[in-house]
Symmetry: C2
Subunit: 359 residues, 2 copies
């Protein structure tokens, strides 16, 4: 006899111009799934979703899909469940490499159960053993969406590939208490850099300063950024890990040293601006006399080259107690839309995770 389970989710409704509005642009819907009667094609697996990762880059997927567009990831499809990175457990499989009970990390939907395609199931094999090891070592599986997942890789690849950090240099990080920023700062400390970070909340300032041991931190909403950088980085800035964009980037440009590197990782301050209200960067011309590199990157390009050393280094540093990682866990898929919007106002303190179910 088959039973029905709830399989509630969030679907994409309409492309927003600026800040998305719940129900107008994306909405929570109630659905059912009959697990025992779900048909899996050859290679497919069915995942019971446990954790869902919401990240700023996903705002970029809420766009009009065009042919031949120059982007690294496809737009969300109108009328379909939205996609996200996630962690779950296999509850049914028509794939030789996956069996019921296996831990899974990869793309899932904003929903309770996801049928994963053969191709996605194959990609996810990369993390299978590491998830099992983590479970055995009491490392939270949600870390595979943060410290040990895409945001952690983003920090690692951006810092080493573009930043090329040297002991004694000064790095400035915006959105420094975020999913990526907190990892950047801690790795930079391990490598002997002076680390300065900005964030938009006093409790986050306290965290990166006193828990993560940044050298300086400030609340960009409360201080004169230019003056504060003069005071905290009188020697200038060698590496800027930019998660924020906008006016902060413009001001930081004036504080960069000769041969500085700007790791263009994200520009969360600009993601919800219609084009007409985008901030215009006026100090870009300084990159010429100061020989500065501004380098945009997408972490997905660099897994082959960096994933192994990332995984090794991070687990090692974690074991040595050199890495902390703050998460902001919101319970229930029905709360995902509001949590996503709150992220753009910095309400999440640490990596935003939606907990969908228990393991």
């Amino acid at each position: 006899m088959s039973t029905e389970e709830s399989n509630n989710g969030v679907i994409f409704v309409k492309v927003p111009e600026d800040l998305p509005v719940i129900n107008e642009h994306f909405k929570f819907i109630e659905r059912k799934i009959n697990i025992s009667s779900t048909v899996l094609e050859k290679g497919e697996i069915l995942i019971k979703n446990v954790y869902l990762s919401l990240d700023p880059y996903m705002r970029g997927r809420m766009r009009v899909s065009e042919k031949n567009e120059k982007n690294y990831i496809n737009a969300f499809s109108v009328g379909k469940v939205m996609e996200a990175g996630g962690v779950g457990v296999v509850i049914a499989s028509n794939n030789d490499q996956w069996k019921k009970g296996d831990l899974f990390s990869g793309y899932i939907g904003w929903e309770e159960y996801t049928k994963v395609s053969p191709a996605a199931a194959k990609n996810a094999l990369l993390y299978k053993q590491a998830l099992k090891d983590a479970l055995d070592n009491d490392i939270s599986l949600s870390y595979f969406l943060g410290l040990l997942g895409m945001p952690g890789m983003t920090a690692y690849v951006g810092l080493f590939m573009i930043g090329k950090p040297k002991q004694g240099e000064t790095i400035f990080i915006s959105t420094a208490a975020g999913a990526v920023g907190q990892v950047v700062g801690q790795i930079a400390k391990i490598k002997g850099l002076k680390v300065v970070g900005s964030t938009g909340d006093d409790s986050k300032v306290d965290y990166i300063l006193n828990e993560l041991k940044f050298d300086h931190a400030f609340n960009y909403k409360k201080v004169d950024i230019d003056q504060t950088l003069k005071e905290t980085c009188p020697e200038g800035i060698d590496i800027y890990f930019d998660n924020f964009g906008g006016e902060t980037l413009d001001i930081v440009l004036t504080h960069l040293n000769i041969n500085a590197r700007v790791i263009a990782c994200g520009m969360i301050s600009q993601y919800n601006n219609a084009k007409s209200t985008s901030y215009g960067i006026k100090n870009l011309g300084l990159i010429i006399p100061r020989r500065i590199i501004v380098h945009g990157f997408i972490v997905f390009d660099h897994y082959k080259e960096y994933y192994e050393s990332f995984q090794k280094d991070m687990v090692q540093w974690l074991k040595e107690g050199k890495l902390k990682y703050k998460e902001y866990v919101v319970n229930g898929i029905e709360n995902a839309p509001q949590a996503f919007l709150d992220m753009f106002n910095g309400k999440n303190f640490g990596k935003l995770i939606i907990k969908i179910s228990d393991l």
Copy 2:
């Protein structure tokens, strides 16, 4: 018996906020020099100046000099003769490595005669033989201020070091008929790229299209730049050699391909803007999804690594008839200030050279 010669020159008077004004910010002055009674300290040489190079970067030297400033070249000194690259002939020497009659290329003043310091005389040794070879081969010595000098090196280093051109790629060049642009385009053609250039004058469009054989060229003042790039580069742009900055850069960003390189060489459109009127770049965020590198550079950093291959390649291509070079020669040091200002309005058609005297 000693005789006096005229040694007229141009002195720096005051730091300009925007476009410099003759007599207010820099001015022509009449002076005399008594050559036979000029005392040369050990290592100094006296040059009779023949050609003077005026280049857009020199606007950046008309600034307030600050301690520990992050710049590649010092500011002009108020009350002193302004400096520039030049070509001349040694007419007196207290230096074992230089004798009367030797050809010289290096920093001189905006004046008829310049006493060159021991350090500068030593630096200039690099070009001594090449100048002699050029004279023997009927190559104009003024080319050492253009095609075979700093602007040519700028084109070469920027294109190869940052642009990393690959056959079949598309390059777009702004200020394409200028001292640097015309060299970039021709080298890119030699390397099998599709070359598109913009300039601000119809006769320059005609020149780069019909003489230099660019694939496309347009007058940015007369067309819709965005639409024109859509039509001429439907495949997108892989390399942008930016001499112009401002709105053109902002529009070009939207046409760049994934993994494109922006060679940030100059931003002539912005050099005379007070900070309040600088153009704000709104599309910089595109460098993230498209993984674009924007790299500022100063040619003076790269002589050691690139000068030899530059000299060899350029002379070879020149002999093979693969390189043309248009100069815009203004006679008389007294006309240098106006010629400098006219350069920012694009009045010079080709590399701006001041001819001070006959060889």
